[in-house]
Symmetry: C2
Subunit: 142 residues, 2 copies
DNA sequence: AAATTATATTTGTATGTACAAACATTATTT
DNA sequence: AAATAATGTTTGTACATACAAATATAATTT
């Protein structure tokens, strides 16, 4: 019952990264109909859900560094999907009408991603795996 | 017992990527003493283990696209750690003396990475998680 | 043997992500 | 009130990765 297909599959670093790559590919396909890659889709969903949210909070929710978040926002601003407003040292990020219009499509794409991987892994396996990975993440990141 | 720290932690895509990021960070720290980031370290270990190996085979073992492998090799060639030899349409990749000298250090770093994450997650948990992730990867990628 | 198809590799270009440093503002200490 | 420290954001720069197209060679079919 030993799994030993590749030389590195017993290394958590390697498995984690290889897995993230296939999941990203799947996700990008699911979000393709929205015209956005997954990171941007998540950013939009985050802002749509909390208009006025600050980059710092976005970076916590998405678990990306602030500088990455700035970069993502910049591009969405350029494409007319987000707007920034400076308030002291803080910044507030707002959805535009254009991005609000995307809301249903984003939701649908996210659901289709969920369906896709649960149909392959099974609902319970997927749930458990997600949870285990998240727990491990929390342990390591603290 | 529900885990619900962030909005996206029930999404496998998100957890997988967030986890890969923290694992990459940990790995890069472990390999820092070798002067290489983790991908290059893995590349070197792969070539050191099978001198003459072809990019295609490297790409299978490392689960990266061929183009990525070409890019990685290029940089190592530039730094004098790998050499390429063209044989028909194939390419053979060889370690240099310099990279053979790195072998023990690479091994040590890889072991220290292993120790690091098993000390946090526990040996058995880590083993199981690695295995589960690898299984899921195999299911999705086929 | 020529034509076609398949395989291995590389190149042009683009993307997502991060670190470290800079900047700007607010909070705390003296 | 001035000086210092802390916090939030952005900028310069770099890296790992990939896709699609181009090249080059080998294998198969006709």
């Amino acid at each position: 019952m030993e799994i030993q297909e590749t030389k590195y599959c017993t290394c958590l670093y390697h498995s984690a990264n290889a897995f993230a790559r296939v999941m990203t590919k799947m996700a990008d396909e699911a979000f393709a109909p929205t015209g956005l890659s997954t990171s941007y889709a998540f950013l939009l969903m985050t802002v749509n859900d909390s208009p006025g949210i600050q980059p710092k909070a976005i970076s916590c929710q998405m678990q990306l560094t602030p500088s990455t978040v700035t970069r993502l926002i910049e591009k969405m601003e350029y494409r007319g999907l987000l707007e920034r407003k400076s308030v002291g040292r803080a910044t507030q990020v707002f959805p535009t009408e254009k991005s609000e219009a995307l809301k249903p499509e984003l939701k649908k794409a996210w659901q289709s991603l969920y369906k896709q991987y649960t149909s392959i892994l099974g609902k319970e396996t997927a749930r458990k795996l997600t949870d285990d990975i998240h727990k491990a993440y929390m342990e390591i990141d603290k």
